[in-house]
């Protein structure tokens, strides 16, 4: 019973490069600057209607039958474009694809009509045991073919390409014989999926595995990256843990600037998963991201405002 839940839904803003600057205009699918929507902020979003381009929602939080959070979600969807971000697809697991999960995901896709759907380049469990964590894969030919085959199945089932996101990781398996970015890029090319680059995760993994973050950026095809995540981490000196519970750190802002130079206009958002501050604090971080992008690539102007599509 999906149809009765679809009401009015907001379309995306359209941006163009300001006529006063030289540069490259944003692509058609550029959404602007967004934020990960959290239940703590539902009331604030609805009462203050902040001037933000779009929201990302965590799919699993709304793969329930009904109730208050879902009710608010639909009200917010009427006002803003959304993208859906999952954590349980387990695209790299050697268990069969979880069709029950995929069916529920598709129901939510039908309800929310997101601009796109993403999950992670990882596995979360095997043999009926779930870690509820994003576990890294070995980067080799077997894993590559396995992941590509499953991305193909998922994209066929959903009827659209998905985005996969890079993890923060702490271990490297002896079975790996290529870099993460080489593997990631091959997955995107072979399977036809697109890429969500988490800039913080690149920074965290670079510190933990002692590679140059710039090598990661340069190893990814320009036309594959459709979204950036920006988030915070916890620095333990020797190593860094991706906690997503702090403001974006300065080195990550610096890396974001480098990413903009490499990939151009990419829809960007702040992702805070824990230690959730007031909405205004996160909106200020979104504005920081916007300002860095404008400084790096040129000022944008709004060609068309969000519209409510009935």
């Amino acid at each position: 019973m999906v149809h009765n839940l679809i009401k009015n839904q907001a379309s995306a803003r359209e941006y163009s490069l300001s006529s006063a600057v030289e540069g490259i205009a944003p692509p058609d699918d550029f959404l602007g600057f967004g934020l990960g929507l959290r239940t703590d902020h539902f009331q604030d979003v609805l009462s203050t209607k902040p001037d933000i381009d779009w929201f990302e929602v965590v799919s699993e939080n709304f793969m329930v039958d009904g109730g208050k959070p879902k009710h608010y979600l639909h009200e917010i969807r009427e006002l803003y474009p959304m993208v859906m971000h999952g954590v349980s697809l387990s695209i790299g697991s050697t268990d069969p694809l979880n069709m029950q999960y995929l069916r529920k995901l598709k129901v939510l896709v039908n309800e929310l009509q997101p601009e796109w759907i993403s999950d992670h380049l990882c596995w979360t469990g095997v043999n009926q045991t779930n870690s509820h964590d994003l576990l890294p894969l070995p980067y080799n030919e077997e894993a590559l073919n396995h992941v590509c085959d499953r991305v193909d199945q998922v994209q066929n089932f959903l009827g659209r390409p998905i985005l996969l996101e890079n993890l923060s990781s702490y271990i490297t398996y002896k079975e790996s014989d290529m870099s993460e970015w080489e593997f990631f890029n091959k997955v995107a090319r072979q399977s036809g999926c697109n890429i969500l680059l988490d800039i913080n995760n690149i920074y965290v993994s670079a510190r933990n595995h002692e590679f140059k973050p710039q090598d990661y950026l340069e190893g990814i095809d320009k036309d594959k990256v459709k979204q950036f995540h920006l988030a915070g981490h916890t620095d333990y000196g020797n190593y860094v843990i991706d906690t997503h519970d702090h403001p974006v750190a300065d080195p990550v802002w610096a890396l974001y600037k480098q990413a903009l130079k490499r990939f151009g206009w990419v829809s960007t958002m702040i992702e805070r998963d824990d230690n959730i501050p007031p909405l205004a604090e996160l909106l200020a971080e979104v504005e920081t991201a916007r300002n860095i992008a404008y400084d790096t690539l040129g000022q944008l102007e709004t060609l068309k405002q969000r519209e409510i599509v009935t």
Binding site: E60, M63, V64, D65, G66, G67, K68, P69, K70, H71, S88, S90, G92, S93, T94, N98, Q100, Y101, W123, G125, V126, N127, Q128, T129, N130, S131, H132, D133, L135, L137, P138, N140, E142, A143, H146, Y170, I171, T172, Y173, K174, E175, S176, N208, H209, E210, N238, Y239, I241
Partner: protein
């Protein structure tokens, strides 16, 4: 060296997360590259910590009052015991602790205090009511527009959020006291029936059920019609009392928002 197949590698990693046995740890350790300033042990432990912390946080969020009731030490003991006994077999963390009442009823020291399992059961029922499916309610207006000749044949259906529960101890009273930040009374045997549901404001609500109402609700669950409910009450009270009584019940259910609109009712 031949590469370990992906499935075997994943099995070793999962085994490591759910099993603290050093042999299991060594098995995955052999597959991890030793590089940089961080030892393999520290690297792997980041995953083990995250696994345990995430599951603990889930139980803390789902079972706040149970946490207050047990105190930190017993709560931690429960979390470790539960994680080891029932590793998650579900995609969603929402269902990770579904078996917690069962665990508490069967494992010492918790099983010696049955109110603990009942508290967990009550909190899980609240969660079910919270995110159960939505449905259009049967309202006073719909009832008023239902031709009287149809009333005897009406068979009511409950909102998907409605839960019936029987407790043998003063569990709900204990939960409620903790929620009000008051000291609960000592645990005591006290049989009672409860109705839980999500109300018109989409908030979870509960109330105790007197024996008569409990019987009526069970009759509805078994497919009884409005006429059947009237017949039942005629055995309990005299004819003059029966009509207003059944109407009182019906209006109360409508106002609570526990009955749903059905297609056969003509509008």
């Amino acid at each position: 060296m031949d590469k370990l197949p992906l499935a075997s590698l994943q099995q070793k990693m999962i085994n490591y997360l759910v099993d603290d046995n050093p042999t299991v740890t060594n098995t995955i350790m052999e597959q991890i590259k030793d590089h940089g300033n961080i030892t393999r042990d520290v690297r792997l432990h980041i995953y083990k910590n995250a696994y345990q912390a995430r599951l603990k946080e889930t139980i803390e969020n789902d079972h706040e009052m149970l946490g207050f009731f047990l105190g930190d030490d017993l709560f931690d003991q429960m979390v470790l015991g539960y994680i080891n006994t029932y590793p998650s077999d579900n995609t969603s963390l929402r269902h990770f602790a579904d078996k917690l009442p069962l665990f508490l009823a069967n494992y010492a020291p918790f099983k010696d205090h049955p109110i603990i399992s009942e508290l967990a059961h009550f909190e899980r029922l609240l969660m079910v009511a919270f995110d159960a499916a939505d449905a259009t309610l049967f309202t006073r207006d719909i009832l008023a527009n239902t031709p009287p000749e149809q009333w005897p044949e009406l068979v009511f259906r409950f909102h998907p959020s409605v839960q019936l529960a029987h407790f043998k101890y003063n569990s709900v009273e204990t939960w409620h006291a903790l929620k009000q930040e008051q000291s609960p009374e000592p645990a005591k045997e006290q049989h009672s029936d409860w109705l839980l549901w999500r109300n018109n404001d989409r908030l979870t609500q509960f109330r105790s059920l007197p024996a008569q109402e409990y019987d009526l609700i069970n009759m509805i669950l078994n497919g009884a019609s409005f006429a059947d409910l009237c017949d039942f009450l005629l055995q309990e009270v005299n004819e003059e009392q029966a009509s207003p009584l059944v109407l009182d019940y019906l209006l109360k259910w409508l106002d609570d928002g526990i009955l749903i609109k059905q297609k056969f009712i003509q509008q």
